[in-house]
């Protein structure tokens, strides 16, 4: 616990505050854009379905299918304001925050923090101070992971707080309807998603720690950690191997809705747009995959660090 306190004390730095402020700003801007898009989309949506002739399709099965797709799109657009209003309610904003931090924005924010916090120990040549005080490298590795994970939890909290404060204002400014879900349902959804995000944030933090002991530098750590997450997403988009990508395990565990290919309203995450429908395993398979990945990453990081010569 003393080591974790030391790591957290070191995180009290301009970089960490800057990343937290950027995360809050990102969440608010995304919410503002989402609320505006939802309101405008609903206002400008046609009140009735177009005819087959208007769509340039001959009457028949083809037209029936086209009408079904159009009906679904219209329903989604018209439901957008109510859905975004629910996402921006102070309680349910927790689920939105969890979705954003357990996806690409959170991964990139933690890669940045890992670069400064863990990789910076090598670039700043302070790792030798740490090791002459505490020679137990496994403990240092665990403390780095713990502090980065807590930083991720902090970012999620900051995003939730920013959305909780600005969400109702944005909803009112865009004339979004009042959310119809009960407070209990909203809180339950938020806590469930935040709880699931804790594991994903731990995986992102572990990837950052592993990148730091492999690259031994700020830039190398950030680039490697971010690159690893992007590589997971690329792998998840490839047919046949998607199931082996940790990105699909995140998708399965978090239960992100498939698709969300365009930002017409407020996306619940920045992850599922890279993964095709049917590419994700169930939540329990996702959980098993993520726990295995977390353990493997930490074991490798600890082993590499324990054997590494510290010469800087």
């Amino acid at each position: 616990m003393r080591l974790l306190r030391a790591e957290l004390a070191k995180l009290n730095r301009p970089l960490a505050w800057g990343v937290a402020a950027a995360a809050a700003l990102f969440c608010v801007l995304l919410a503002a854009g989402g609320a505006h898009n939802a309101a405008v989309g609903a206002r400008s949506a046609p009140r009735s379905l177009p005819s087959c002739a208007a769509m340039g399709v001959r009457a028949g099965p083809l037209c029936t299918r086209a009408l079904a797709i159009e009906r679904s799109r219209l329903t989604e657009i018209l439901a957008g304001p109510a859905q975004v209003a629910a996402q921006l309610s102070p309680a349910q904003a927790g689920a939105e925050s969890a979705g954003l931090m357990a996806s690409l924005p959170g991964a990139l924010a933690l890669a940045l923090l890992a670069g400064g916090h863990a990789g910076g120990e090598w670039s700043g040549r302070t790792v030798k101070n740490l090791l002459t005080q505490c020679g137990r490298r496994w403990r240092l590795t665990a403390a780095m992971l713990g502090s980065l994970w807590l930083a991720g939890v902090g970012l999620m909290t900051v995003c939730w707080a920013a959305l909780a404060v600005t969400g109702p204002v944005l909803a009112r400014l865009n004339n979004l309807p009042a959310p119809d879900a009960t407070a209990g349902h909203e809180v339950s959804l938020a806590l469930s998603q935040c709880g699931r995000a804790l594991l994903v944030l731990a995986v992102f933090a572990a990837i950052g720690v592993l990148a730091s002991v492999l690259t031994r530098g700020t830039i190398g750590t950030t680039a490697t950690a971010a690159g690893a997450v992007v590589a997971m997403l690329v792998l998840a988009s490839l047919p046949g191997v998607a199931g082996w990508s940790p990105a699909t395990w995140v998708q399965g565990w978090m239960g992100f809705p498939a698709g969300q290919a365009s930002i017409t309203a407020l996306p619940t995450n920045f992850w599922s747009r890279f993964i095709g429908p049917g590419g994700a395993p169930g939540p329990w398979s996702g959980l098993a995959g993520l726990v295995g990945l977390l353990m493997a990453t930490m074991l490798l990081a600890g082993r590499v660090f324990r054997r590494a010569d510290v010469t800087g």
């Binding site: 080591l3 306190r5 030391a6 004390a9 070191k10 700043g124 030798k128 090791l131 054997r307 510290v310």
Partner: protein
């Protein structure tokens, strides 16, 4: 008397470079021990192995009688390796407080962090952020970190770098005080004048091997020379008479004899019927001794080192 540091056949090889080549070294307790060598001799590598920062390729080392790496033993060791680095966004005091948390609990006392900062002469600037520190201040902060746990053994690598003359004098006094309080100090330095003034013993390394070790005075005495001025016609006969010592002509009317006893040289010459005009004993300082050991006289004192 126990040994605070012991190295047996310590070797460290990097691809294409042998940093340490079978170093054998013993450092007794309670002394200020100087560790000398030219750049690349293996001094910092030795310190890093002792502190568990790097692993030797072969050989063994002990700190305070415990084999290294020994995480538990680090509580009794204070160290400063090369140019100290700290977290620039934290104050000097906060840096020490954070690093104190990473190791075993500090010894009981009112304010161990404040005491270490005062001892290193940083009390006045302890609450300034480190990014505003000069190199000398960072050096002092490194010293404060080394002193934080009141260690029984201090390992210091070039600790006087960046210190002004007053700072060097303070540092010299501090080392003597620490030794008088019972701490052992292992000091790697290029400042030979400082080493000569504060160290009880020195070891000289070159090419990753120990070349010489002993009390500073004995090392200098071992390099003492006698200069003999005499008639030019007597030079040849005198060299023959003095063959028990390494001797050579040094000009038409002068000889240099590698001996510490001018009287014995004089007596030998007198018995052979040669009377010198003048006999002068010269004792080189540590600097000259160091240069001799690490450059020109290597073949005489360390055949193995010279053979590489």
């Amino acid at each position: 008397m126990t040994d605070v540091i012991r190295c047996e056949g310590l070797t460290k090889r990097y691809p294409g470079v042998t940093a340490l080549d079978g170093l054998d070294l013993t450092v007794p307790a309670g002394q200020v021990f100087g560790f000398l060598g030219p750049n690349g001799a293996g001094k910092t590598t030795t310190l890093r192995i002792l502190l568990g920062l790097i692993r030797p390729t072969s050989g063994r080392a002990w700190l305070n009688g415990r084999p290294v790496p020994d995480p538990d033993g680090l509580a009794e060791v204070g160290a400063m390796i090369e140019e100290p680095a700290f977290y620039p966004w934290l104050t000097g005091r906060r840096n020490l407080a954070v690093l104190a948390l990473t190791g075993p609990p500090l010894p009981a006392g009112d304010d161990p962090v404040g005491a270490a900062l005062s001892r290193a002469g940083l009390a006045g600037v302890a609450d300034r952020k480190v990014n505003g520190y000069s190199q000398g201040m960072r050096q002092r902060l490194g010293l404060a970190l080394a002193l934080l746990r009141r260690p029984s053994l201090l390992l210091l690598d070039e600790p006087a770098n960046g210190l002004d003359p007053a700072g060097i004098a303070e540092f010299r006094a501090l080392l003597r005080t620490l030794a008088s309080e019972g701490s052992s100090v292992f000091l790697s330095s290029h400042l030979l004048a400082e080493v000569e003034q504060v160290c009880d013993q020195v070891a000289v390394v070159r090419g990753g091997r120990l070349v010489e070790q002993g009390p500073v005075a004995r090392l200098a005495a071992a390099r003492a020379r006698v200069r003999v001025s005499l008639e030019p016609a007597d030079v040849g006969s005198a060299l023959a008479l003095l063959r028990r010592w390494p001797a050579r002509a040094d000009g038409p009317a002068s000889l240099l004899v590698d001996a510490a006893d001018g009287r014995a040289v004089n007596e030998t010459l007198g018995r052979g019927g040669i009377w010198a005009h003048q006999i002068t004993l010269t004792r080189p300082g540590l600097e000259e001794t160091f240069l001799n050991l690490t450059e020109t006289i290597i073949p005489e004192v360390g055949g193995a080192a010279a053979s590489r």
